[in-house]
Symmetry: C2
Subunit: 221 residues, 2 copies
């Protein structure tokens, strides 16, 4: 049974890595669509989201099968549940990329973002995508140390996000309420995406090692 | 084993009902704090959030124990997993009520909301809390029909939420960017809370009946 469990867990982990890649691509393209007012790219992200939803359903089915057929206990059980939680967060990350793409489409052919905050979003997008790619790498390379740097990267997103509020609430914001509302919501989408990416990467480490990073053992999780 | 499974599932369901009540209370108080600029009430919601987090951890531990000791399969397994997902959504609802309370605290002694949108938030708060209480009732009364009305109620929240954007982006919004940003974020907190409440209620129906509302059987979930 242990042998079968490990083979099936490995397949599940690979599918989570694929999902991580999908939502990283989605956020990369959505950010590009946002920055360049690229309607085609926005449409692609919007239509591709169904694939992420399907992948999540597949991951859950694999996890159910693993639980039903192998009845794992202790760390093995927690590992499968970590995979289920990771799949849920990844689907949510896909939804958040979708929201960014929809904002780009809604305002097209106008740009959503005033020039003043364009760089902030370029940076947030870059870090958010990197976080998702790191989650993918944890599974592919078993390099769990890479995952440890994620919290620092997430802090960078939070910092840019906080700074955005200072900018749009400043007396010299000339772009009006509608642009401020767009920036507020978009900023929140990136911040939530990054939070989920950190949570996914931590759970990926668990799926690979049976231990949560930053904790002594799964008992503390 | 079936007997033990049902006793333990019943305890888990009761704890989910308690959590639903906690997050309904949290959103009710947070909304009151927001509408009345009531600092004491806001502080109470903020300090009570730790109880919701603890309750979620307890639910997960109960679910783990149930999976490890009873190794349920088929519908029984899906029921336990539905409970795990419900606990996650309930914790998130607690976080969203916390965000509302923190907004009330941040602006105190000023009111966060301009008079113009006060009624909209009073209404959204009322429906959001009712959604959470319905999730609690599904477990307590086994009245799964009550859960079916939830999607209509959620539509009401979405409608008010959309209308808010029309108001703050209108030419006659005299309250400036900062108030618009607050309204934007708060509107989103209520909308997400309501979405999670609907998802929780649907999963509660599953926990009680083994069937998802609106679907023929768990096979379609």
């Amino acid at each position: 049974m242990r042998e079968a469990y490990h083979v099936e867990l490995e397949q599940l982990a690979q599918n989570l890595a694929v999902m991580s890649g999908q939502v990283a691509d989605a956020m990369e393209r959505a950010t590009q669509a946002l920055l360049d007012a690229d309607l085609g790219l926005a449409e692609q992200v919007i239509s591709d989201d169904a694939k992420v939803d399907d992948a999540r359903a597949d991951c859950e089915e694999q996890a159910y099968a693993l639980l039903a057929l192998q009845a794992p206990v202790a760390t093995d059980l927690r590992t499968v549940l970590a995979a289920i939680h990771a799949a849920e967060s990844l689907e949510r990350m896909g939804d958040l990329a979708l929201h960014v793409a929809k904002a780009a489409r809604r305002r097209h052919p106008d740009a959503v973002l005033p020039e003043q905050v364009r760089d902030d979003f370029a940076k947030m997008g870059k870090v958010a995508v990197r976080l998702a790619r790191q989650a993918e790498q944890v599974i592919k390379t078993r390099d769990v140390d890479a995952a440890r740097s994620l919290e620092t990267e997430d802090d960078a997103v939070d910092e840019i996000h906080r700074n955005l509020f200072t900018v749009i609430m400043g007396n010299d914001w000339p772009h009006g309420v509608a642009a401020a509302v767009d920036v507020t919501l978009l900023g929140r989408f990136y911040e939530r995406y990054a939070d989920h990416a950190v949570s996914v990467a931590r759970r990926m480490v668990f799926v690979v090692t049976g231990k949560m990073p930053g904790y002594g053992s799964d008992e503390d999780v």
